[in-house]
Amino acid sequence: MARVRLVDGQARLLGGRCSQCGHATVPRRNACPSCHGETVGEVELGPTGSVISSVELYVPTAGVEAPYWVGLVKLSEGPTLFTRLAGAAGPGSAVELVVEPETDSYWFAASQAGVETASS
């Protein structure tokens, strides 16, 4: 089940949106956690969001070298994700989704002109 997609060069996350109440989730849920509606369609979310909180980690883990930043990012469409960050980005910072479809991975980077997507 892929998590990310590039659409016309723009990074998107795959999620769901309830046709009844509009609540959006990542990933898509069969039943809406907000209204319990059962008609939840697939939707592409992102790329913009804002940082709720973030922290620098000093312990490496599988495939991730330390130190690195992680945080809770609230997508413009509503869902909040625990995600890697490209670098320091404090609470309230505007960030933009970066995806790598080949590895189905994603992270967020500080919003700035010219930084929309990355591919290896």
Binding site: S34, V64, V70, T103
Partner: protein
């Protein structure tokens, strides 16, 4: 329970047997008296290769066989979940003697493999490749409190120092060395404000609890509340920690003012400060002041984690919830040695595990009361 620690030569089944034997002896029953057993383990599939039938394998070794054995998995809340199940088996009237066991083998010679296994206590479809989640979530929540001026780094040091000091007096604890604030704050930085002495490490251990049905009104340590819940989703509704605490107080008919002692889930030692407010031991934003007052130290008004908590006792994940119950049973029966809380009659255990959809994955609260002399 077993002495938690680093026991690379001791297999999961041997730790389980040791904990089971001790709990049966303490309850005054034999293996043949046990009518149903619930066995909690979280990481055995990934770390020791025993994915299926973990309970049967480990409990047959302990002389428990020919009865229903139910395998339980609920991340770090597995132990309490096994107890919750055992309590229901007895409450239903179908079984008189039920056994709850939690066991975990985490030292397998490869720290990265153990950390990777722990990371599965989440929705791996969303968290894969995103780094170490649990320590980061605690670190961010603490940083918010620090930034808001509600806590200071000295509070993080003090609560950690309190836990380490309690651990010195606990012969079952993995870490039995007192630490100074300078050593705690000067430790290797793990994430944000968290240093190595503040985080629970890798641990091997097992704990077991026997639940016996008795006529109401009989004396002894009674389970007066047993609550389990899964988490909320996307911040919709009450958190699992809040729900389980509220429902446990309701079930037991007690409030925070009635508690004599509490064992809480502090996967990082400063998380104990969150629990003060969630338990209602103090108001919102008052955790630091409550800690400073000494109320939560052994000898204080409401000692919290006299065992040392997860960071001193050790956190073999599925064993933790039952180690809390062992500690509280000893406290309620005056057998906690130099960490004994005087006049202990009402005790609360709070255990939680994992993280999914913006909340703790599973959580449980039990309230135990010593009804002797009533």
């Amino acid at each position: 329970m077993t002495h938690f620690g680093k026991w690379p030569e001791v297999p999961l089944r041997a730790m389980s047997s040791e904990a089971v034997s001790a709990s049966l002896a303490d309850a005054g029953v034999s293996a043949a008296d046990v009518e149903v057993a619930f066995f909690a383990n979280s990481l055995g599939g990934l770390l020791v290769g025993q994915e299926a039938l973990r309970g049967e394998v480990c409990l047959h070794d302990a002389g428990i066989f020919g009865i229903p054995i139910v395998n339980v998995e609920n991340a770090c809340a597995g132990g309490a979940t096994a107890l919750w199940s055992a309590v229901r088996a007895v409450r239903s009237g179908e079984f008189r003697v039920a056994l709850a066991v939690g066991a975990e083998k985490m030292f397998v010679g490869d720290t990265q493999r153990t950390l990777a296994a722990l990371q599965t206590a989440a929705d791996v479809a969303t968290t894969q490749g995103q780094g170490l989640q649990f320590v980061a979530l605690y670190a961010m929540r603490l940083q918010q409190r620090l930034d808001a001026g509600l806590l200071t780094k000295e509070h993080l040091a003090l609560v950690t120092r309190k836990g380490k000091a309690n651990g010195v007096e606990n012969e079952y604890a993995q870490f039995r060395t007192a630490m100074t604030d300078a050593e705690i704050l000067g430790g290797r930085v793990i994430a944000g404000p968290l240093t190595l002495p503040m985080v629970s490490g890798i641990s091997d251990g097992a704990a077991a609890v026997v639940v016996i049905g008795r006529p109401s009104g009989s004396s002894g340590v009674c389970v007066t509340a047993s609550v389990l819940s899964s988490g909320s989703v996307d911040g919709l509704g009450e958190t699992v920690v809040g729900t389980t605490i509220r429902r446990a107080y309701l079930e037991a008919g007690v409030g925070p003012e009635d508690l004599d002692v509490a064992e809480v889930h502090d996967a990082v030692s400063p998380a104990e400060l969150f629990r003060y407010e969630e338990l209602g031991l103090c108001g919102t934003g008052e955790a630091g002041a409550l800690l400073e007052s000494g109320a939560t130290a052994v000898g204080g008004r409401i000692p919290v984690n006299p065992s040392g908590g997860l960071t001193a006792r050790g956190h073999p994940v599925a064993a933790t919830g039952l180690a809390q119950i062992a500690e509280l049973t000893w406290q309620l029966t005056g057998r906690a040695g130099r960490r004994q809380v005087d006049g202990c009659r009402v005790a609360l255990a709070q255990n939680s595990g994992g993280w999914i959809d913006g909340d703790t994955g599973a959580g449980s609260v039990h309230i135990l009361q010593n009804r002797s002399g009533e």
